[in-house]
């Protein structure tokens, strides 16, 4: 890691610790928009690593952000293609993740008894019903290809571009509720489950925490993560359908366990709060300063700052402005964000830049230039 890499890393870490810095770091939250900003179409780039690499590297060489949430490796489309999965729906307009229901609520108790056994013997069969040995072999080859691409481009960003990653791929924590919400029960069923099968759901959530999440977290915390902005990463999404009472009963206890462990190990976490988190802001008030970065999406970030003055915030730059405003309007708003949010702020787009009209190149260039030079 070169001098520039370490300077960027320190810049992020000082903001995580709420220290004043001579400029605010810019973390790019661009995902598939990087492809829309290139010469390639999305369907071709997600299945061709050479084109994806060209799109992602071209993106960096155009904007020179301080760090990236994604460097083109997030969606291993070809691996799932090989398994015959319909997990992704990819068109010229964008990439959607298709909601799947892989288990019934009556199965929560069985899941709780042995999550691994249930996963391998039931969930895998239901997710990939037509898989034969040849498909697994093909998927393994694709997986190796994807891992090779991820390693190569990751190395390029570290060594050539001197850009730190926000977190290591092995250090991702998936809250137990999210596991069921995103992968096994489907979004529409979780509302019913929270009412009708609450006890069984909590039983399964606790089993998932004990048998999968905590062992993974403990391993992650034991590893050297000094090359990343944060030691761990967690995205919270499914809380958006729960009432405050349900959040307190079903969701928060497991997140609190994770955060307590993190605190005990003196490590940090980048938390991407999809949707609106302000309703639950009180729960985050006890998190020690410097422990967590909260990336807020749809909330008014200025209001979040008032409610949680001791936490580093990220996000804020409105995608709707980047996609529809003028360069000057975007720069004015960027200035407001930096001026009003003060120390402990990582500049970033509020939402993932995913679709063609999420952003205009001239707006992003203007904002990038402004953020790089402001405060200096």
């Amino acid at each position: 890691m070169g001098k520039l890499y370490n300077e960027k890393l320190q810049l992020f870490r000082d903001n995580v610790s709420m220290k004043h810095t001579d400029r605010i770091p810019y973390l790019s939250n661009a995902f598939t928009w990087k492809v829309f900003d290139s010469e390639f179409s999305l369907p071709e780039a997600v299945r061709d690593s050479a084109k994806m690499e060209k799109a992602v590297c071209g993106f960096h060489e155009r904007y020179h952000f301080d760090a990236y949430m994604d460097i083109g490796a997030r969606n291993p489309v070809r691996v799932l293609d090989a398994l015959g999965s319909s997990y992704y729906e990819i068109t010229d307009a964008g990439l959607n993740v298709v909601d799947h229901v892989l288990m019934e609520p009556e199965e929560y108790t069985e899941y709780a008894k042995n999550p691994d056994l249930f996963g391998w013997t039931k969930l895998m069969k239901r997710k990939f019903p037509d898989v034969k040995g040849k498909h697994i072999e093909a998927a393994l080859m694709e997986f190796l290809g994807h891992a090779n691409f991820t390693g190569q481009i990751g190395k390029k960003f570290v060594e050539e571009y001197e850009c730190p990653s926000v977190y290591g791929g092995a250090n991702v924590v998936i809250p137990p509720y999210e596991y069921f919400f995103q992968t096994t029960r489907g979004i529409r069923n979780m509302g019913r489950d929270a009412r009708k099968y609450k006890e069984q759901l909590i039983e399964a959530i606790n089993a998932q925490l004990e048998k999968n999440v905590l062992p993974g977290l403990k391993y992650a915390l034991s590893q050297d993560s000094s090359m990343y902005v944060c030691d761990t990463y967690m995205a919270i999404i499914g809380y958006g359908i729960l009432s405050e009472k349900q959040f307190g009963e079903i969701y928060w206890p497991t997140v609190k366990t994770v955060l307590d462990l993190l605190d005990k190990a003196d490590k940090t976490m980048y938390v991407f709060c999809e949707g609106e988190m302000l309703r639950y802001a009180d729960y985050f008030q006890d998190i020690p300063k410097g422990r967590v970065v909260l990336h807020v999406e749809n909330d008014d970030i200025f209001e979040v700052r008032k409610r949680l003055p001791g936490l580093c915030l990220a996000g804020g730059m409105k995608v709707e402005l980047l996609g529809n405003g003028t360069p000057q309007e975007c720069v004015d708003y960027a200035k407001k964000l930096i001026d009003e949010l003060g120390d402990g702020y990582i500049f970033s787009e509020n939402k993932m830049l995913s679709f063609k009209n999420d952003c205009k190149r001239e707006n992003l260039l203007a904002v990038r230039e402004f953020v790089r030079d402001y405060r200096r």
Partner: protein
Amino acid sequence: MVDLTRLMDAVGELEEDEAREILRQVMEEGGAQANEAMEACQKGMDIVGERFESGEYFVGDLIYAGEIMQESVEILKDAIVSGEGGAKGRVLICTVKDDLHDIGKNIVKAILEASGFDVVDLGIDTPPEKIVETVQKEQLKIVLLSGVLTLAVDSMKAVVDQLREAGLDDVKVLIGGAPVNEDACRRTGADAWARNPQDTVRFCQAWV
């Protein structure tokens, strides 16, 4: 004879099994109480709406309530007799082009139906041309457009533009979903935007 207050409370309390049991009893008894049972379900949905507005219920509960309501209609449909005047009004609803999300749309649809509206549902990923064609064919005056992705706002604008180009200036358009706000409403040229299903129903009631 079933206890309609019990049915109303069961729907309001999201007691799916109890509501289903009462509705089946209505049908087993010949369906004479079907219309009153439907009204009780609608009153139950009003309770759901009140609890949503007070914060006791949230989105997951609305999804659940919508599914209870859909099942209720399914159980009672063969015995429901359309009264004089029929529905309160007819509306078109859909998720716009390039957006595949339908949970929000389905919640709004269920609550509109519970409020007495006849809803024409075009599903997800709906091209503007299909919306315009349906509006003309069915002579609809209210169009509700839903979307979750940021790109949905552009698709909503395309619908409004095509409706106006087709001379359908008297058709009211309301937009809703995660990327929708006052600014999106202005950009698309829609007549209104709604933050939640209750607001949508209020606009529709005002427009019929």
